[in-house]
């Protein structure tokens, strides 16, 4: 999980340029639909906040719950998991597993005291650049309102 270390930086603070809290949101994007969708948003020059840190995975079904928890522990303020619409999976059944897994993860995260807005599961097809733009904008604003998560403080207290 070396790629997750990107978010290791401990200080989640105010950006000097915008003067407000800039959340870090780790987004797991499946390579066949959601990553291509994000790519479409980019090539179409749609504007969306730069707070999504994309991690490309082969399938949203490959996203182990552990990846999500590790992202939060290492400093993410939010995590999004995006995959193909149910029925459109490149691997036939991968995203059905995601569909059943992520609600359990969501309930567990709520039990651990995280606000539900910090975790999101979205289906974004390769043609839905606009949906990616909308999800990224909406989630960034929601997490910005909630403020920094700073899970390291929770972990480090005796």
């Amino acid at each position: 999980m070396a790629e997750l270390e990107v978010v290791e930086e401990k200080e989640t603070g105010t950006a000097p340029t915008t003067g407000r809290f800039e959340p870090k949101i780790v987004a797991f994007l499946c390579t066949w639909c959601s990553y291509t969708g994000a790519d479409l948003a980019g090539t179409a020059r749609m504007e969306y906040p730069p707070n999504f840190i994309p991690i490309r995975v082969m399938c949203s079904g490959r996203v182990d719950p552990e990846f999500i928890f590790k992202a939060f522990r290492d400093g993410a303020d939010g995590v999004a998991v995006c995959g193909c619409h149910p029925g459109d999976c490149h691997y036939i059944s991968g995203n059905f597993k995601t569909m059943s897994r992520m609600p359990i993860v969501k309930r567990y995260l709520e039990q651990m005291g995280l606000e539900p807005e910090r975790f999101r599961l979205e289906w974004i097809s390769a043609a839905e650049g606009e949906k990616f733009q909308q999800v990224a904008t909406e989630m960034t604003e929601q997490v910005r309102k909630l403020g920094p998560l700073n899970w390291n403080e929770t972990v480090e207290t005796q």
Binding site: P65, F69, S100, R107, Q111, W151, V155, T157
Partner: protein
């Protein structure tokens, strides 16, 4: 050859691990032929002072059971680490936090309020909480400080071997003792007295490749005998739990609760179970998936029943972390 010197200690534990050692039965007599017990507060009158008076490295093998939840446990763990050549984390609590680590789902103050104020059998009109020190005519009396978060043994001291289980099965304990006496221990850091497959590999129940349509708690349905409990909708931790127990609970018709801990390198047992159970749910659309998952009560408690201290998130989010951290500097 001089006799082996054994030490046993309990921190935040129920005493079941000490009973599990006794469960080796008359083999205990064979053990005593080869080993002297130099510290075992559960069964004999040893004082901490006795251990302090031993020279460093005096104890050959120390079996440490129980989780770390107060300053006394940390102090004794550090003391025993100095005095022992080999430190063994014994049982689920010492290896992964165990049942005591379920308090990580609560705030420290909630816990104190519940136990000392709200509890039905407690009468405490003055709202007196336990203090770490009190002045009496004879001098000052002290009590250990309760930690905010329950941790496993290897979070406070280096540990050489891990024996999982709640409690470890007698035959596995005996295997480990034989290995110690014979000097045949595996490389340090190993998990001993357990297998490296899943409980499902040892489970006698039949798998029929049927997916879950609804979750049930154990008292809600009468499961069909001989058929995989997970497929019948009873949460069984078998797929994410290390083998070694011989699927004892399943042979008695109870689901696996996960006491032998994680399999493989990934320590987050609950994450593994969430991954596994997610692919066993019979849903073709999101509403159905949500409906099935809503019938699952308390995912954190089920999936991390024994592994909370080694979970990635470790505990419930702390309220007022800033305040708590000041307290930590002052008291601890």
């Amino acid at each position: 050859m001089s006799k082996l010197k054994l030490g046993l200690y309990w921190a935040a534990s129920c005493g079941g691990c000490d009973m599990a050692v006794l469960e080796i039965g008359d083999r205990l007599l064979t053990l005593v032929e080869h080993a002297d017990i130099v510290f075992w507060p559960c069964v004999a009158d040893f004082k901490y002072k006795d251990v302090e008076n031993y020279e460093d490295g005096f104890i050959d093998v120390c079996f440490f059971n129980g989780a770390i939840r107060n300053s006394e446990a940390v102090e004794i763990a550090e003391l025993l680490r100095r005095k022992s050549k080999v430190m063994v984390a014994f049982g689920s609590c010492a290896t992964k936090g165990g049942i005591p680590a379920l308090t990580n789902l609560y705030q420290r103050q909630e816990l104190l309020d519940r136990v000392y104020i709200e509890c039905e059998t407690v009468e405490n009109p003055d709202k007196v909480y336990p203090q770490t020190s009190v002045k009496v005519p004879a001098g000052e009396l002290t009590l250990p400080e309760l930690h905010t978060t329950v941790r496993a043994l290897n979070d406070v001291i280096p540990v050489d071997y891990y024996i999982p289980g709640c409690p470890p099965v007698a035959d596995r304990i005996w295997d480990v003792i034989l290995a110690i006496v014979g000097g045949e221990l595996p490389p340090a850091g190993s998990i001993v007295g357990a297998g490296d497959k899943s409980v499902c590999d040892e489970c006698p129940l039949e798998k029929r490749q049927i997916k879950i349509t609804k979750f049930h708690r154990i008292h809600e349905i009468k499961p069909e005998p001989g058929w995989c409990l997970l497929e019948q909708g009873i949460v069984c931790m078998g797929p994410a739990t290390r083998s070694g127990c011989g699927a004892l609970c399943l042979q008695a018709g109870m689901p696996c609760r996960g006491c032998y801990g994680h399999i493989g390198d990934e320590e987050d047992q609950g994450a593994a179970m969430m991954g596994a159970i997610g692919s066993l749910i019979d849903a073709k659309d999101e509403e159905k998936a949500k409906e099935i998952i809503d019938s699952l009560i308390d995912p954190a408690g089920y999936f991390y029943r024994f592994g909370m201290s080694k979970s990635t998130l470790l505990r419930k989010r702390l309220l007022n972390t800033k305040v708590k951290r000041d307290v930590k500097l002052e008291v601890l």
